[in-house]
Amino acid sequence: MDIRLPNMGEGAEAGTVASILVKAGDIVEKDQALIELESEKAVISIPSTTAGRVSKIHVRKGDEIRVGAVVVSLDRGEGSSAGGEERTAEPGDEPPKRPTMQGLPKPDAPPSPPPELPEGVRPGASPTIRRMARDLGIDLRRIRGTARGGRIMVADLRDYVARLQQAAGSHATTAPPAAPTPLDTPAIDFSRWGPVRVERATALRKTIASRMADSWRTIPHVAQFGDADITALTALRKQYVPIYKEKNARLTLTPIVLKAVANALARHPVVNSSWDEASGDIVLKDYVHIGLAVDTDAGLIVPVIRDVDRKSVLELAREVEALTERTRRRQISMDETRGGTFTVSNQGGIGGAHFTPIVNKPEAAILGVGRGREMLRKVDGEVRTRIVLPLTVSHDHRIIDGANGVRFLVDLVEIIERFPAEELEIERTKG
């Protein structure tokens, strides 16, 4: 018979296999622990519901399993009751032993999501409940039903709504103004005013929408505007473009800006940090991974270039080109978009000047680069035509105060304006 992951109580529905305590061929007693499961809240040992010989182990260490998953198969030996009948618990049966908890459950842990249903099977709920949920705009798949078979009752729906309200309420106290929830937004029939076309948002668009809304809602943004005079840098870059070309690399402004940002971050570690919302700590990172906002046909994707501080401009130029290309073709993995410490959004290729980019959470700051344009500037007492690059640093005021933000920007402008020729040398070897 198969031993399945039982309902563990306390709303725990899934966990990761932490260790496997038996092996195939082992004789196990009833209630003997088979595996240890790490859930959100605790480490739990899962007991065998019967005695027998382990014929097969269906899980591996590290597997994420849900309630109902087969853990091991047992052969029932001679010692088991005659007939070998297999049945689920009946009224009057000894209640099955509850899994034992080690460690304390976290207080205030959010209720776990309901068990996943097979594709095509909808949550158990009566037509009345389904209509109520529709009227309220609630997806029943998010609700744990408490009745037999996971059926959703009016009380479950009411509890869920109460929790939503509570969540909205607590937002209001910590991050005013209160986060607007979809519940507050009535459906608008745009076709009342003329013909419309409705496109389904892609998964990417939905991700962008929810991440941007979350960043905007939770991060108090400050935007610092600056201008870098890149007349000298432009001349320098032009000088190096053919040399890079010989090495099959395109020397654009982007790898240079990345390098300059890495150098500026070295002077301002707080800009290369994150606000840990769970613990309230500031996490400073000893690595510099910079995200690069890439405009693809499908929408914004931000792949991350690792260890920018330890790479040469040549390496960065090659990586920017390759990564951008792969991103546009949607060939990058989720992993390649994670772990950034700062983001650069260069819109100069399209145009525009200063703009206020939204911080890419959980990073603390983002640089927006506009298009360099010719301006008249007074240099050494004379009015000259200079190429000026508009720069904006948006930052999270929870971590970076305005003064620190502008100090970072001033340093960045200085680094770009005096970008050293040695940094562009390609013979330079890096350790």
């Binding site: 009948e85 297999e86 049945r87 158990g124 037999r148 059926r151």
Partner: protein, 471 residues
């Protein structure tokens, strides 16, 4: 002639159309109901459900009388007066149709007999006997239904080649009848004519009758039909039909071998096509799918935001109760309510024995890779089934094994169509097999088979041999 203003126009007064018109009127709308036929009720009442069930009931008596002889009560051979049978059946239709007229009148629904045609997304022209009428509407519901499809090559213009429309008139009882198509229409009408004394040969191109139905539910039907029909010929193609004197010659082919046979009548029951032609849909933004059905969203709205479509013309299963449900959804949608189509639609086939199912079928679960446990209860173990002389049945449950929720139910057996309503409630309510097993059912009834089937899921039905549950 002055133009009529209506908040809602319903095109077609079948079980979808009149349900929509009545519900809208009950909710305070000014409604015009347009019917192309000269009676309300659509196919269901005039050329479908009601006449076929009347005839099935009438002819059921013949086979019951035959079976009765074995129980020691013998009747003499029945005399069949087909004219009287027809007028009895027509009487039922007339009564129900008059009932609908009265219900429409009480609600203030304006009924207009004539052909309706869209002139634009907000206006319609109706050709009535009294001349043209023009209606300006806010919303329209297209509920024009479907009609029997007959391939051109078989449409010889002979009255000997019938669709279900003509077959239900029973103007004669043919000695030899060929039924083309082993779907529910072919099977139901084949059953009627076989009972009336026709020698019925049924041909079906596929390898089973009632395609799409779980094979274990088809089995009892096939078993009995083989006895009642002259022959059921599966995997058989009809190559040609032609008139020969007072007969129709049919050339059929099975396993590479051709058969040429003469029949008095042929019933073509190979499907139904939507009635979308000549509705003036080209004057609206309504779109059709590749099979000619009107495309609708989950709220029954067409590509034209003022126009809804329900029932057969909107595709999906062609069942009157599905049309009626869609009618409610469309009305609620146009009233701005949150209704969407998420209902369990039971399927019923009035063969002998009847077959009915609802929710997920075993077959669908297999096709969609949904892990289910099947529990079945054979009617041979039901006292009532034996007492009424019909042990040829089976009740089955499709259960989700983790939650033990009932996802679907299937029944083949006497009165299955009446029993499936309980299955619909169970599936809609998200009930578990235990909910069903622990709800006491009256003895001795066929409804007990549902409860015992749920007990079978747990491996211990009282009237069945114990066995481990299937996984």
């Amino acid at each position: 002639m002055e133009r009529i203003d209506a908040e809602l126009v319903v095109l077609g007064a079948g079980p979808g159309g009149y349900a929509a018109a009545f519900y809208a009127a009950d909710r305070g709308k000014k409604v015009v109901l347009i019917e192309n036929d000269n009676r309300l009720g659509g196919v269901c009442l005039n050329r479908g459900c009601i006449p076929s069930k009347s005839l099935l009931h009438a002819t059921h008596m013949i086979s019951e009388a035959e079976a009765s002889a074995r129980r020691g009560i013998a009747f003499s051979k029945p005399e069949i007066d087909s004219a009287r049978l027809r007028s009895w059946k027509d009487g039922i239709i007339h009564k129900l149709s008059q009932g609908l007229r009265m219900l429409a009148q009480r609600r203030g629904v304006e009924v207009m007999f004539g052909r309706g045609r869209f002139e634009g997304a907000r206006s319609l022209r109706v050709e009535t006997e009294e001349g043209q009428r023009f209606i300006d509407f806010e919303n329209a519901i297209v509920a024009t239904g479907s009609e029997p499809a007959i391939p051109k090559a078989w449409d010889l213009g002979s009255s000997r080649i019938m669709t279900s429309n003509e077959a239900l008139e029973v103007d004669t009882i043919p000695r030899k009848l060929l039924v083309i198509g082993g779907g529910y229409i072919g099977m139901e009408l084949g059953t009627v004519y076989a009972a009336l004394g026709s020698k019925v040969t049924l041909v079906e191109a596929l390898d089973t009758i009632l395609t799409g139905t779980d094979p274990d539910l088809v089995r009892p039907v096939m078993y009995r039909a083989k006895k009642k029909f002259e022959e059921i010929r599966l995997k058989t193609k009809v190559k040609r039909l032609s008139t020969k004197d007072r007969h129709i010659e049919a050339i059929t082919e099975k396993d590479g071998q051709e058969y040429a046979e003469l029949f008095d009548r042929v019933l073509v029951a190979v499907g139904r096509r939507p009635n979308c032609d000549d509705l003036g849909l080209e004057n609206t933004s309504v779109e059709l799918d590749e099979r000619g059905f009107i495309k609708v969203d989950e709220r029954q709205r067409t590509a034209d935001s003022n126009i809804y479509a329900i029932g057969d013309v909107a595709g999906g299963v062609m069942l009157a109760h599905k049309a009626a449900k869609e009618a409610r959804i469309a009305i609620e949608a146009l009233l701005g309510e949150s209704a969407i189509f998420d209902a369990v639609i039971p399927a019923v086939v009035f063969t002998d024995p009847e077959v009915a199912w609802c929710g997920l079928t075993e077959r669908e679960a297999g096709e969609r890779g949904i892990d289910v446990t099947i529990a079945t209860f054979p009617w041979g173990a039901s006292g009532r089934a034996l007492a009424v002389g019909r042990p040829d049945g089976v009740t089955k449950l499709v259960v989700e094994p983790q939650t033990e929720r009932i996802l679907g139910m299937g029944i083949a057996g006497h009165g299955a169509a009446e029993l499936i309503g309980e299955g619909v409630i169970l599936v809609e309510m998200g009930a578990t097999a235990r909910d069903l097993a622990e709800s006491v059912h009256p003895h001795p009834t066929l409804s007990e088979t549902l409860m015992e089937c749920a007990e079978m899921f747990y491996g211990h039905a009282t009237h069945a041999a114990p066995r481990p549950k299937k996984t």
